[in-house]
């Protein structure tokens, strides 16, 4: 299977890293050099752990030393208390750290950005104070002379190299798996744009929690190893202190967060440098290590804020593009193949199609008020399966608020929304997306650092667990909208029209039964408008129901089967376009008197 081969190829660099470290272990002779090697491996591992939650998922944590310290303390206290071997103790430490991650994550992930970062500061401080209070200011690891190996006490420094290397290799494999899995795409998407990720079916809360738990475990394991290889005496300051998170941040940010190679690179550069400085002039200048770390952080932020790994990659020639697998490469031109691609993209097993005309979505007396403004007031209407329904109304009529209620961004104050006769009000946007409601945005919300293909894959993961299959579905969706030629570029280089196509493709890749299009024609040229309208018709013909917000009147009238008219949050008209545009109430509220005269002139 070529997929399996490609997967194995991805592991080769990790194998090379392990071999190089192994070679160093056997080449180095001086005890001090082994200590530096062990430290490089330890801080690389800790950096990788932090990178999972703060690099991939972008949730900057200033409290990751909480897990490092929990791992160290649990393991060592189990040795001191019940003579449990640290080989089992570090498993217990990892479990304790994962439990701590759940306890911390549940309240803390309700906070975003700066609030999350500040809140994470508090946890290690609290733990540190408690360790002092409980009398664990200094916990020495007892020497066990008869069974040293059982108690992780080695005289050969190479043993600690190997121990740290094993932890590093494990964390590299974990990181590699995350980078290439559905979770990794979800994390990168929510880092770039959390709302767009939710609307594309990413359970952002769950993804963050899983990432947090996965990043707590290796931090705890490496904390336990650090205690045995370096510390011998565990103190709150040594494992919960500021210097632990500073070391971690330095290796990640200098190396580059968001890739598994960044922390490794950062550790390989910064740790030997600071150890050398500390050994040579540290006695005379006790703060030199801190100054170097501080200067490294400042310089990196000023000159290469993405870190060395990404900086170097930016200098290299552009990556070769992954060749399109035969069979999915469909040219945009011939309508037949594009339709086949559309069916491939939106295919989903086990969903009984509704009869054309049956109520797909039922909006019942929905009201939503913001401070002082009734954005929606007692709005009711139904969306019938197989139709294109237009929602029109002047600016501020409540159209986008209506979409936000339909896809779960907003909870209505009153009323409910039923989808296939199930109440979806109160569900999270990703859950509504999974049920089959996709949406696009008035201003396109892309994931700017992901390629066009990867943007669409985020949606495709709603229906596919495997990355290869998600990629195929995403390619089909791109082919269906005619954007397959731009699959490997980043959204920043696309035109407005192509961006809108990409967002439609991302939405189609979630295999929706209903799509909500928020002003898809805005900002398009005349040709673009025609092409987008043709696409919307093809999407409907493929069996997807469409609700569309649009301002461009001539387009709406041609495109839609029925119209719902909103004004000041109320539904003031509903029906086929020909009737609605003649309804005096609608003309007065939305089109104005001039249009009324125009219509009368036409009649005359």
């Amino acid at each position: 299977m070529p997929g399996a081969l490609a997967r194995l190829r991805g592991l080769v660099p990790i194998g090379v890293v392990v071999l190089v470290a192994l070679a160093l272990t056997f080449v180095l002779t001086e005890r001090y050099h082994h200590r530096v090697l062990t430290l490089v491996l330890i801080w690389a591992t800790m950096g990788l752990a932090w990178n999972i939650i703060s690099g991939y998922a972008g949730q900057i944590s200033f409290g990751h030393q909480a897990f490092f310290g929990v791992g160290a303390y649990v393991t060592v206290l189990l040795v001191v208390g019940v003579r449990l071997t640290p080989w089992l103790g570090l498993v217990a430490g990892a479990v304790a750290a994962v439990v701590a991650a759940v306890l911390i994550g549940f309240p803390t992930f309700r906070l975003a950005g700066i609030y999350f970062a500040l809140a994470t500061l508090a946890y290690p401080l609290i733990l540190r104070i408690f360790m002092d209070f409980l009398g664990y200011q200094e916990v020495a690891i007892p020497m066990v002379r008869d069974q040293p190996a059982l108690y992780m006490q080695f005289t050969d420094p190479r043993a600690y190299d190997l121990l740290a290397l094993a932890a590093l290799a494990g964390t590299l494999l974990l990181s590699h798996w995350i980078e290439t899995s559905r979770l990794g795409y979800a994390l990168r998407a929510l880092k770039e744009n959390e709302q767009a990720a939710e609307a594309s079916g990413v359970d952002t809360f769950r993804s963050k929690m899983v990432a947090y738990m996965l990043s707590a475990a290796p931090a705890a394991v490496i904390g336990a190893i650090y205690a045995h290889a370096i510390l011998y005496v565990v103190t709150p300051d040594a494992v919960f202190g500021l210097l632990v998170i500073v070391q971690t941040l330095v290796v990640c940010l200098v190396g580059g967060a968001g890739s598994k190679w960044g922390p490794l690179l950062g550790a390989a550069i910064m740790v030997p440098m600071s150890e050398t400085l500390d050994a040579t002039i540290g006695d005379r200048l006790p703060g030199i290590q801190g100054v170097v770390y501080g200067a490294a952080l400042v310089l990196v932020m000023l000159f290469a804020p993405e870190g060395l790994y990404w900086w170097v990659r930016g200098l290299l020639p552009a990556r070769r593009t992954v060749p399109t697998p035969a069979g999915v490469a469909v040219a945009a031109g011939p309508a037949g193949t594009a339709t086949a691609a559309l069916e491939l993209a939106t295919d989903v097993a086990g969903r009984a199609p509704l009869a054309r005309g049956a109520a797909l979505i039922d909006v019942r007396s929905v009201s939503k008020a913001f401070v002082g403004v009734h954005a929606l007031e007692d709005v009711s209407f139904a969306v019938q399966a197989g139709e294109i329904l237009g929602v029109i109304g002047p600016n501020g009529a409540g159209k986008t608020t209506l979409f936000n209620v339909l896809n779960g961004f907003l909870a209505p104050d009153q009323g409910e929304v039923r989808y296939r006769d199930e109440r979806i009000t109160g569900l999270r946007p990703n859950a509504i997306c999974r049920r089959g409601v996709g949406r696009t945005f008035q201003v396109v919300r892309s994931f700017p650092h992901l390629t066009v293909l990867e943007n669409v894959m985020v949606g495709a993961f709603v229906r596919e667990a495997a990355t290869d299959r998600a990629r195929q579905r995403a390619r089909a969706a791109l082919a269906a909208v005619g954007l397959d030629a731009r699959a490997e570029v980043v959204p920043g280089s696309l035109t407005t029209f192509d961006l809108r196509l990409m967002e439609v493709a991302r939405c189609l890749a979630t295999a929706p039964e209903l799509i909500l299009l928020d002003e898809p024609l805005a900002g398009l040229s005349r040709d673009g408008v025609e092409a987008m309208m043709a696409l919307v018709r093809r999407v409907r013909d493929a069996g997807v129901t469409v609700v569309i917000i649009e301002h461009t009147m001539y387009a709406v009238v041609q495109l839609v089967d029925r119209l719902v008219v909103l004004d000041h949050g109320r539904r003031i008209g509903e029906g086929v376009p020909g009737e609605v545009v003649r309804d005096p109430a609608v003309i007065e509220a939305y089109l104005g008197k001039r249009w009324l005269r125009h219509v009368e002139n036409l009649k005359a």
């Binding site: 309700r110 609030y115 401080l125 703060g287 952080l297």
Partner: protein, 297 residues
């Protein structure tokens, strides 16, 4: 417990809180105007303590006066740091990434200041022996430590001056405009970058003055920043990120919580009460106890 004892704890807490309040409004001003969380704020406070110390030891300047003397040089230092470093990570760009860059940059700055101070001045703790540090005013049964009382009054005075500056002067109004609507302020001819520099300079000068006041009763050492930067964050979050009166109230509250925690928990756990209050506010009122939304004043 006697009522008198409770009053004593409340009064002690408020007196300490006054200095927290002063240092916190510096942080709040910088955040309110620039949207920058300054990790190095505690280190400028520490430098303020040292300046006051050397003025007291070398020239016999009373630390209460020394705290005032610290204001102009630290204002200039703030301007320089803003011009050399902060301008590069403020302004245009993805706000989330900018925020991360600012946090890391100021963290790096904090490490440099702490450790360079350790290198130059040694880690040895120092103290100013002010006569009033060990004396107290007696108001009925309640004792008010004189150093803390003076520091409290000075903090109140300085905070009042900042508030008057922001609300009464044209420059202060321009500063608030730059904070609330930087783009619109720019169209009105307000130099937003200069306003950022002004806010950073004033913010640093305030925290340095607070450091000078703190030096009248707190040991001075290079690593003193760590303990206080977290207290400042807590105060600023309590008051609603960026609100000046909020941060002042937040600072007073921190002093109060610290002091009252001693009634129920042992001394080592004094700050646990503060951190738990911090987390509770973050979870349940992330906009702060008083704030509606982010604004400078």
């Amino acid at each position: 417990m006697a009522l008198g004892e409770l009053v004593q704890y409340v009064v002690t807490g408020l007196l300490v809180g006054g200095v927290y309040a002063l240092m916190s409004i510096g942080l709040a001003l910088i955040f309110g105007v620039m949207r920058v969380v300054n990790f190095a704020q505690g280190d400028f406070m520490m430098l303020g303590m040292y300046l006051t110390y050397f003025l007291a030891v070398g020239y016999g300047v009373d630390p209460l006066l020394g705290a005032l003397v610290a204001i102009p040089p630290f204002f200039v230092l703030g301007l320089v740091v803003h011009r050399v470093l902060l301008v590069r990570v403020t302004g245009g760009g993805d706000p989330q990434r900018l925020m991360d860059a600012q946090l890391i940059l100021t963290l790096g700055l904090s490490l440099i200041i702490t450790n360079a101070t350790t290198m130059i001045l040694t880690p040895m703790p120092r103290g100013i022996r002010a006569a009033y540090a060990t004396q107290a005013f007696a108001v009925g049964p309640v004792l008010l430590n004189q150093a803390r009382s003076y520091a409290f009054l000075m903090a109140l005075l300085l905070a009042g001056a900042v508030y008057a500056f922001l609300t009464r002067t044209d420059l202060g109004k321009a500063l608030r405009a730059a904070a609330d609507e930087p783009e619109a302020a720019g169209y009105q001819g307000i130099d937003v970058r200069a306003m950022h520099g002004l806010a950073f300079g004033v913010g640093i000068a305030l925290v340095a003055a607070a450091g000078g006041l703190l030096a009248t009763y707190h040991p001075i050492e290079p690593t003193v920043a760590v303990n206080f930067i977290v207290l400042m964050f807590v105060a600023v979050v309590l008051g609603g990120l960026g609100s000046i009166p909020g941060a002042f109230a937040g600072g007073l509250l921190i002093g109060l919580v610290q002091s009252l925690t001693l009634l129920v928990l042992p001394f080592q756990l004094q700050n646990v009460g503060v951190f738990i209050a911090f987390l509770l506010v973050l979870y349940f009122r992330p906009q702060g106890l008083f704030g509606q939304r982010l604004r400078a004043v």
